[in-house]
């Protein structure tokens, strides 16, 4: 598939991903209305299914382990969070239907506005799903970024200093946590987020 670009910084610039073209979004009423102009998303979704189930791919849910084989998610430290956030499964097993898959692709594509991207980024980073980014979330976030091995973690003093700095920069109401509007405010002025693709042209 001719890939459209996806993010360099979080969901921002950099142009060699394989996310399919032509997903147009109109984000009214907080729900994306998708207009498919190419069937490459459907093709990719059905490729994740075993052959027998491909005909009714639209109504099937793919288990998390299959989703994680996607090249874009395979090497991503946030893979589990991404599956969790985009999955609408009631069973809580993070399986994704075709609609969920499309949601995920549309948020990652070039044509999503930075509002949408930052909204989903916030949800991905909110490890305990309580609607705010507190110290524990930030600590888990930093450890994801630097790697899980022993020598790739920052020391606890460094993490403390780092979290202190992050809160100083982004916590406007000084309550020790980052809520969605503070997060969106901070991310909207981030040059690597906004360089291209993340900001609506």
């Amino acid at each position: 598939t001719a890939g459209r670009s996806c993010g360099d910084g979080l969901l921002g610039a950099g142009k060699h991903c394989r996310f399919p073209e032509g997903l147009l979004l109109s984000h009214s009423h907080h729900r994306a209305a998708l207009v498919l102009s190419s069937s490459s998303a459907y093709k990719r979704f059905s490729e994740l299914l075993p052959k027998e189930e491909r005909e009714n791919a639209r109504s099937v849910r793919i288990p998390k382990s299959h989703i994680l084989t996607l090249p874009e998610l395979r090497a991503n430290p946030f893979q589990h969070r991404i599956c969790h956030v985009f999955s609408t499964s009631e069973a809580g097993d993070d399986s994704m239907s075709f609609e969920d898959f499309l949601d995920m692709l549309s948020v990652f594509s070039d044509s999503a506005t930075s509002d949408i991207k930052s909204h989903y980024a916030f949800r991905i980073f909110d490890f305990d799903d309580n609607g705010i980014l507190d110290r524990k979330d930030l600590e888990k976030l930093v450890n994801c970024l630097t790697g899980q091995g022993e020598e790739s973690r920052l020391s606890s003093a460094e993490i403390e200093q780092l979290i202190q700095n992050i809160l100083e920069e982004s916590d406007i109401d000084k309550d020790g946590t980052i809520n969605l509007s503070e997060f969106q405010h901070v991310v909207s002025r981030s040059p690597d987020f906004a360089r291209s693709g993340g900001v609506q042209q």
Binding site: E72, N76, L145, Q161, S170, I172
Partner: protein, 611 residues
């Protein structure tokens, strides 16, 4: 989709048609965009490099691509307006003729110019030497200024003023380069200016926007994680250092400041040493190569020696640049600055070194050309015996510099990077392992590119086909660097971000361009043009063709143009420009204040029950 389909029922037919046609138009535009992106040079290669090595290095390669395009456009410009008419008229195509007006009021001696050209039997070594130093057969080709000894070109009744075209094409390529670079840097600059007040937001930037969601290779992901870790640790360390610096005692401060003064004196001494040696070497090279040219005794044995003498200035410059860089990198550690400032200061010193070296080379050339002791340049204003066609000589020096630059890059990759990689991967001695794999140092590479491009800009006036050589050179360099990167280098532990590196490359290039204005300005306006060759034979200086042409315009237009060049016009324009600048600065300051106020309001909104 449900919402859209629901809406559709209630729309009139006209609106329906409008909506479907705009959708299909958008789709068509997308397709065209998609197709045209395939035409972009090296698109695939650069994306792969970005995926494997990060966006900083990727922007270096797209910078190379930009330079290939820029040089190609400059070449088209010079070729189309200068070379093509000359060639057409020389060979009489399209019923065209050349008009060579013999110079009036000029001593006969000034017009003697006999380049060796293709006369007589040409030995193979002579041929090689001519190829590498631009003398002999190469000197009389359209590569150099001397070929364009044409005053007017007549193309079936239309007069084409070649001298004016030559000068205007020069200004055009300088203006084009300036505008293109500024246009490319404005985007990045705008962002930096807005975010300037928020430099303290760098941690959030790194943590929230730090992960590259395009990484698909687990190895690349591991590398990215290491680089993020390194970056965060470096930033935290820098913050701790800042704290330490703020806590310095007076005694420590005195010690550090005196150390810095000493080191700056050393730096100045090194720079002066470089300048002096380049001056001496250029003078030496000019004197000895002239002697051998004139006596025409090219001995096969002396071929290498001759070539060495010719390339001595380029070699000394390359050595000075290389050692200067190493010494500056070494010295700055003693000055105890913050790591970010260390890099900037070293780069500033190196940029100054590289550009000033070029300046000194040109200055020493000019001192030779205008060497008027003992009445050597009485009738003509320049040293006509040694330099009957001095612009070609300057062009030859630039040509040699450019060739040597390319050879050096090739040699460094082949004879330093590859052996180093082989050594490190097959030999397990501690010393060699400590030496490590070569790293792709972005700053060194960008300095080299800036140096090469400045030479090209200066040299194009004296050698109109030089941009073609530069285009081929950058084309080759792209592949050399790419191979070197992929096969020998390991990704840098501390990668530069794309947003910063783009601005940095363009700023360096802009510095080079601004420096290029100075020698060109001096050559065009101040040094008398050679009377033996070139399109400006009948003028005192190259610039003089412009006033002479203006004098041929109708009186009204003349008055306007001369008025524009006078002080009574320039001063008010300057004042108006200053006023506009102050207004814009004040406006941006006001915007920043508004941003601050809005931020504070955001805090209030959380707690004020009224909202």
């Amino acid at each position: 989709r449900d919402f859209q389909q629901a809406d559709v029922k209630y729309l009139s037919r006209w609106k329906k048609w409008k909506r479907t046609s705009s959708k299909s138009l958008k789709k068509m535009l997308n397709e065209v965009k998609g197709l045209s992106s395939y035409l972009v040079l090296w698109r695939h290669d650069i994306r792969n490099i970005g995926g494997r090595f990060g966006t900083g290095i990727q922007s270096y390669f797209s910078f190379l691509r930009f330079l290939v395009l820029l040089n190609f456009i400059i070449f088209i410009l010079m070729f189309g307006f200068v070379t093509l008419p000359t060639i057409i008229s020389t060979y009489g195509i399209f019923n065209s003729t050349v008009a060579k007006i013999s110079p009036q009021n000029i001593e006969y001696n000034c017009t003697i110019y006999e380049p060796r050209g293709n006369k007589g039997l040409v030995y193979f070594f002579t041929y090689l030497q001519d190829l590498f130093s631009g003398t002999g057969f190469l000197e009389v080709t359209s590569l150099f200024y001397g070929y364009y000894t044409v005053d007017n070109v007549w193309i079936s009744m239309m007069r084409y003023n070649l001298p004016l075209a030559y000068l205007l094409a020069t200004f055009a390529y300088l203006a084009l380069s300036l505008l293109w670079i500024i246009k490319r840097s404005v985007g990045g600059f705008k962002q930096n200016l807005v975010h300037d007040a928020d430099q303290f937001q760098s941690y959030c930037n790194k943590v929230f926007a730090g992960w590259d969601f395009c990484i698909t290779d687990p190895n690349a992901a591991w590398l990215k994680q290491r680089s993020l870790q390194y970056e965060l640790q470096t930033d935290l360390e820098e913050e701790r250092l800042k704290q330490k610096i703020a806590d310095r005692t007076i005694k420590e401060k005195l010690r550090i400041y005196s150390l810095r003064i000493i080191i700056n004196i050393i730096v100045v001494a090194i720079l002066s040493g470089c300048f002096y040696s380049i001056y001496r070497v250029t003078v030496f090279s000019q004197e000895n190569s002239n002697v051998s040219m004139r006596t025409d005794s090219i001995d096969n044995m002396n071929f290498l020696a001759n070539l060495l003498v010719q390339y001595l200035p380029s070699m000394v410059m390359a050595l000075a640049n290389f050692f200067g860089l190493q010494i500056f990198t070494f010295l700055i550690k003693f000055e105890d600055y913050l790591p970010a400032f260390e890099i900037i200061l070293t780069l500033m010193r190196c940029v100054f070194l590289y550009l000033a070296n070029i300046g000194v080379l040109l200055f020493s050339l000019w001192s030779q050309i205008s060497d008027c002791a003992a009445g050597k340049c009485e009738p003509c204003g320049y040293n006509y015996e040694l330099y009957p066609c001095w612009e070609s000589n300057v062009g030859q020096e630039m040509y040699k510099l450019m060739l040597f630059d390319l050879i050096m890059i090739l040699a460094m990759t082949l004879f330093v990077n590859f052996p180093r990689k082989l050594l490190v991967s097959h030999c397990s001695w501690k010393l060699i392992q400590w030496y490590g794999f070569p790293e792709f140092g972005i700053s060194d590479n960008v300095l080299q590119i800036m140096y090469g491009q400045t030479i090209c800009w200066i040299g194009t006036f004296f050698s109109p086909l030089l941009p073609a050589i530069a285009t081929v050179k950058y084309f080759v360099i792209f592949y050399i660097k790419k191979i070197s990167l992929i096969h020998t280098c390991k990704p840098a532990a501390k990668p530069i971000r794309a947003s910063i590196s783009n601005l940095f490359f363009l700023a360096m290039l802009l510095l080079g361009l601004l420096l290029a204005f100075i020698p060109l300005g001096v050559s065009i306006a101040s040094i008398p043009s050679s009377k033996a060759c070139g399109p400006f034979r009948n003028f005192n200086t190259s610039w003089e063709v412009v006033p002479v042409t203006i004098l041929e315009f109708p009186i009204g237009l003349q008055k306007v143009l001369f008025g524009m060049a006078s002080e009574s016009f320039a001063v008010p324009i300057f004042m108006v420009t200053c006023l506009i600048m102050f207004y814009l600065i004040a406006l941006s300051g006001a915007h920043k204040r508004v941003i601050e106020q809005l931020r504070e309001q955001l805090v209030l909104v959380r707690f004020d029950p009224l909202y």
